[in-house]
């Protein structure tokens, strides 16, 4: 595993901050009624995408989770997040061309597209990995989903197929313990999702999803396993959803308000703060640098907002030409 240097750590930190700032921008735009569709905040989840996608090859395939509509993953892979903002504003410069208002597709960075039915990324990612294996150039596929996504049959079929064919794929489950209004503990027969890996003869690991380095280390191990032809892995990142399922929705568990104490407890281990404190202690970061990064990210978000609003809408006369490829 490549050891992370100071620059890598700083980049990871910056990407955590960028993710948070862009998420806040999305929330503000949603609150102001400017988004053209729903928004699912990724606050609390940032370390997973950033930790997992740092160090991937540009041609590795990536299937992001819906939280932040792909922010942390794409940012860590090198995509300019202003495309996310533009997408949410339905603009032609968005990373899905503004056609859906939230789908992510950046083929140059290995993001081939997503579906909007939760968990269907399992089977699509098997296809990406199958192509990669056939091509034989060492590409791997990483796919993110939630504790809800794992409950779909797609997981079972995909995991078995990928294991039998030793496909280069890493599945990262962001277990925030809620699927929409329903708590994981009331809809799952087992406490840890990592347990499920045994049914497919693949490694299943539990990781602290608030710790960006822990995520990075676990994922890198799985990535190496995948690249060397040994097959798929399942990584469960324990995390927490700070906000309601999507902006404007009630924040309940079943039908009662979620526990404020529990949210507060998780926020004590906020992934951005946690890493910041660590890097401060290790003197990789300074207070001044933190402020500088924060300001730069604010500026970037501001610029992205302007970019979004100034971008044109897609040309509707193109729609009918996009149903079938020539």
């Amino acid at each position: 595993m490549k050891k992370l240097g100071k620059q890598d750590l700083l980049l990871m930190y910056r990407n955590l901050v960028r993710t948070r700032k862009f998420d806040e921008l999305n929330i503000r735009m949603a609150t102001e009624g400017k988004l053209l569709t729903f928004y699912h905040s990724c606050q609390g989840h940032e370390a997973i995408g950033v930790g997992a996608c740092t160090g991937l090859r540009k041609d590795d395939y990536l299937y992001p989770h819906h939280r932040g509509h792909g922010l942390s993953y794409a940012i860590a892979k090198g995509v300019n997040p202003r495309e996310c903002i533009a997408e949410h504003l339905g603009r032609a410069t968005g990373w899905g061309g503004g056609i859906t208002g939230f789908h992510t597709c950046v083929p140059e960075f290995g993001i081939l597209g997503v579906g909007a039915t939760i968990g269907s990324g399992f089977v699509l990612s098997v296809g990406f990995a199958l192509a990669a294996k056939k091509r034989g150039e060492g590409q791997i596929t990483i796919m993110f989903t939630g504790d809800g996504g794992i409950q779909r049959g797609q997981f079972h079929e995909a995991a078995n197929m990928a294991s039998v064919w030793k496909l280069p794929v890493v599945w990262v489950v962001e277990n925030n313990q809620m699927a929409w209004f329903t708590p994981y503990r009331d809809t799952s027969a087992v406490e840890d999702i990592a347990t499920l890996a045994a049914s497919y003869n693949m490694p299943g690991e539990i990781v602290d999803g608030m710790d960006v380095l822990a995520v990075h280390t676990a994922v890198q191990k799985a990535v190496e396993r995948a690249r060397s032809g040994e097959g798929p892995s399942l990584i469960e990142c324990k995390t927490y959803r700070y906000r309601s399922h999507s902006e404007g929705r009630p924040d309940v568990s079943h039908y009662l308000p979620r526990s404020k104490e529990e949210i507060a407890k998780w926020k004590e281990r906020d992934p951005v703060k946690l890493f910041e404190e660590k890097l401060l202690k290790e003197k990789v970061l300074t207070k001044a640098l933190i402020q500088k990064i924060s300001q730069e990210c604010d500026a970037e978000a501001e610029e992205a907002e302007t970019f979004g609003f100034e971008s044109p809408f897609p040309d509707p006369s193109n729609l009918s030409k996009m149903v079938y490829a020539p």
């Binding site: 569709t37 729903f38 039915t117």
Partner: protein
């Protein structure tokens, strides 16, 4: 009489039926809080055993619905978005539809598949369909698509009491609509269309939210064209007699349906009109439907989904040049 919103009319119907019949229960994702409100409040009244928050498992939710119905219960399965019928097509379109027929009418499948349907909020191609034609193309399923609170309540009660699987697609854009609802119980039988506006020049056959578009178009055109608006309310059974009666009067028809045009609801209705009233038609049956493409989201949605102007234009075209202002 009391004023109820569309969603509240639906939830009231469900509550009444749950009270009346212990075999009725609700199963689905997040049905206790109910993101689309139609089962909200039920858990407080009936408890979590009859309002069951399920895992994110459409196959199991829909399959358990079919199985429990076969075993004597009357489940109401909330698919959340109607689009998620794709995620359990084997269970809904095949098993629910066919079990009764395949087994010589020995075991029936009384259940309701609820789905919030349609466009209007830019939610994109996987959250905006009204998969009506897919349901109709699989005999054994009934299909209800109410346009008003009053209809929604009466039809939901009929759907729950029906001895067959009924897909009940309620429209996102109808959610806030309000209407006076009688205090006494009433049921609207499936298969009876409602003439929502009487007219004599052009018949508009409409479904779900499109009924409101049709009524608006009719109003806008009232000085020049007398438009009759038929709200089908249920698509299976289809009240073809009501359509034909109107067509015989007007000779001109526009079908307005939000499902995808190709092999959609409107094609079936158009064809049936041609088969039964060819000699009465003064013009081809016109259709206004979702364009033949996925339902784009965000700002592009309106270029795929029928808009008022299209409906109006189609009515004017059907009426023919004699009617233009």
């Amino acid at each position: 009489m009391k004023e109820l919103s569309y969603w509240n009319a639906i939830s009231e119907a469900i509550a009444e039926e749950m009270k009346r019949d212990e075999t009725v229960f609700v199963i689905g994702e997040n049905v206790q809080e109910s993101p689309f409100l139609v089962t909200k409040g039920l858990v407080q009244q009936f408890g979590p055993d009859r309002v069951m928050d399920a895992p994110l498992s459409e196959l199991a939710i829909a399959g358990a619905t079919v199985g429990a119905a076969m075993a004597g219960y009357r489940p109401i399965c909330d698919l959340t978005f109607a689009d998620f019928i794709y995620c359990a097509a084997d269970e809904v379109l095949m098993k629910a539809a066919q079990q009764y027929f395949s087994h010589n009418a020995k075991v029936n499948v009384p259940c309701v598949f609820l789905g919030v349907a349609g466009a209007g909020f830019g939610n994109g191609p996987e959250h905006s369909r009204i998969p009506a034609a897919m349901v109709m193309n699989n005999p054994g399923l009934k299909l209800v698509m109410p346009s008003t609170p009053y209809d929604a309540k009466g039809l939901m009660k009929a759907a729950i009491r029906d001895n067959n699987p009924v897909c009940f697609f309620f429209h996102k854009k109808c959610m806030p609509m309000k209407q006076e609802i009688p205090d006494e119980e009433y049921i609207i039988p499936l298969g009876v269309a409602d003439v929502k506006r009487v007219g004599s020049d052009v018949t508009v056959v409409a479904t779900s939210y499109m009924v409101h578009l049709a009524l608006e178009a009719a109003k806008n055109l009232e000085d020049i064209i007398s438009v009759e608006v038929i709200d089908l309310r249920s698509l299976v059974p289809l009240d073809i007699d009501a359509i034909i009666t109107s067509v015989k009067k007007t000779g001109r028809v526009v079908v307005v349906d939000e499902d995808t045009e190709c092999c959609g609801v409107a094609a079936e209705i158009g064809q049936q009109i041609m088969e039964r009233a060819f000699d009465y038609l003064d013009a081809p049956v016109a259709r206004v439907c979702a364009a033949n493409m996925p339902i784009a989201g965000a700002a592009m949605e309106k270029y795929v989904i029928p808009q008022l102007a299209q409906v109006q234009n189609a009515i004017e075209a059907a009426a023919g040049s004699g009617f233009s202002a």
